[in-house]
Amino acid sequence: MKAIKYGVVTLTAFFLINHQPISATEQPSPSTLKASIGRGKELYLLQCLACHQVDGGGVPHLNAPLDGSANVKGNNKARLIKIVLNGLKGEEIEGEAYGNVMAPHKDLTDQQIADILTYVRNNWSNKASQITSAEVKAIRAKNK
C-alpha cells in the first residue's frame, strides 16, 4: 500500500517537474490515468468481481451492471464514491430493482476507491473521466 502511495507521489512529482503543474480541475495526463486503471483492475477483481462479474454486466435483477450504466459513466462522481463507501440496497436504478445488497467498503483508502472507480469508468464499453483520491477524500470527509 505504502509503495503505491509513494509511486503516486513520485509520479505526480515527475509531472510537476517536467510538465505544467496539474490543477485540481484539469484532466490528469494519460499515464496517470493508465496507472490508476491498472491498480483499479486489481482491486476490482478482489472487491467487486463476485457480484458485478468479469464482463461488468452484473447479474440480471440481482446485481446492477456497471458496464453501460449511465450513472457509472456520468458526472455525479459524488454518488459513485458514496456507493462504494456506504454500500447500496433497495434502490431502484433506472427503473430496475436489484435483489442483492452491496456492502460498504469504508476500509478502502481514498486512492483505492479512486482507482476502482476510475477503472470501472474506463473498462468494457465505458469511457469517462478519472476520479482522484482528492475527490474521494472530500466526499469521505462529508460522509458520516
Binding site: A50, C51, Q53, V54, G56, V59, L62, G99, A103
Partner: protein, 434 residues
Amino acid sequence: MRKIVSLCLACIVLLSTTVLAADSTHLNNQITVKPDADNAGLKLLPGFGALKVADNLGRTRHLVVNAQGDIYTKIMGRVASEKGIVKLHDSNGDGKADVITSFGNYGGTGIAIKNGYLYASSDEEVFRYKLDDKGAVLDTKQPEKIITGLKKGNQHETKSIALDNDGNIYVNIGAYSNSCQIEDRTKGSLGKMPCPILDSAGGIWQFKTSVLNQTYAQGERYATGLRNVVGLDWNSQLNQLFVMQHGRDQLHDLFPELYDERANAEKPAETMYAIKKGTNAGWPYVYYDPELNKKMVAPEYGGDAKKESTDPAFSNPTMAFPAHLAPNGLLFYTGNQFPEKYKNGAFIAFHGSWNRAPLPQAGYFVVFVPFENGKPTGKWEVFADGFSGMEVVTGTRGAAHRPCGLAQGPDGSLYVSDDVKGTIYRIVYNKETK
C-alpha cells in the same frame, strides 16, 4: 458426411413409417406434438425432443399445467395491469400456445394447482382462485387471500409454494441475508448469535389452504435453517416435502484467508433435503461441503474451512449438488410418457450460477436424479442443456435463457420455464426415434 446424410435419410424414412404406423393405431382425435427442428435450441438425451410453447412472456417463474393441458405461469417483478399470471392455451393441438391471456396485479414466483384451485404467490402473500370443471379461473379479479404479511427483505424475497394432500400449503420464506453476518456481505463480519432472522424467515412455513388471511400467527414454522428455497415439491409417493436450498455465497470474498477463489467457486453445495416437521438444515451456522461430504461450521460462527459440525440438531442433505448452481425448480415425475427410469425420480432446474467468478459460471440446465425406494441412487445427470446459448458462461448477463420452473403435463410432457426471455419449453419423449 455422406454416411451421416444417408443415415439421416434412413432415419427419416424409418421415422415417417413408424409415425404413420403409430397414427393408424390411434383414433384420429389426437394430433401428436412435433418437436421443433432444433429442439428449441436445447441439447437433450436421445429419444427426447423439445418445442417452444411460447416466447417473450416476461419473467416467467414457476408454472403449472391443468388437466386440460393449459399452462399457468407466474410473472416476477413489477407487472403491468392484469399481467401477473399468464395462461397459455393451445387450441389446435400443435403444442404451440395460440391463445394467451393474463390476469392478476402482483408479481411473484409461486404457482400450483390442487383440488380445483389455482394458488399463486406475491412476495408477501398467497392467493387462490377457484377453477371451473375445464380448469379455467372462475373469477380472475377476486381471488381469496389465504396468507398475508410474510416477511420480504432485500434478498431471497420470492415465495415458492407446494401443497400436500391434506389441505396444507408450504411456503418458503427466504432469509434476507447471505449468512446472517452483523454486517451483511461484509468482509470478516461475524454471525449474529442466535441468528434473529430465523424467527420469521430462513425456513418453510405451513398454512391451511382453506383459511383466509392467515399470518405468521396461524402458520407454523415447519422447517428451519434453510437460507433460501426456490424449487420445492410435495412427493406424493412418499407423502413428504422435498426442497432445494440455495447455499451461501462469497466464502472467498468474506474470508479470503480461509478460502481461495477455487474454494469459493466449489463450496458450499446446493442441497436437497427431505423435510420432516421440525427439520433444521443448519443455515447460517453450518454449510455443506460437497468435496468433504460434511457439514462444516460456517466461518461467521467460528469455522476455519476445516472444522466439521457435529451438532445433532442439523440434518444432513438427501443429496448434494455443485456449488452456486441455483436450483429454482424441483419436480417429481409421475408421468408415463418418459421411460420407466424417470418414474418417481426428480427433475431439477438449475437457474445457473453467478458466484463462481472469476471461474466460468455453471448450471443453466435441467438435471435428473433417479430415485429408488424414496432415495436418490446417488447420481445425477444433465437432462436438458443449452439454455444459455453459450459454450461457457463467463458473465451471467450473457445467458440467453435461464431455466426456472418445472411442470408436468397431463400426457407426461415436462415443461420448463425461462425467466430471461419468458420462453416456455415442452420436452417430450418420442419412442420412435430411440
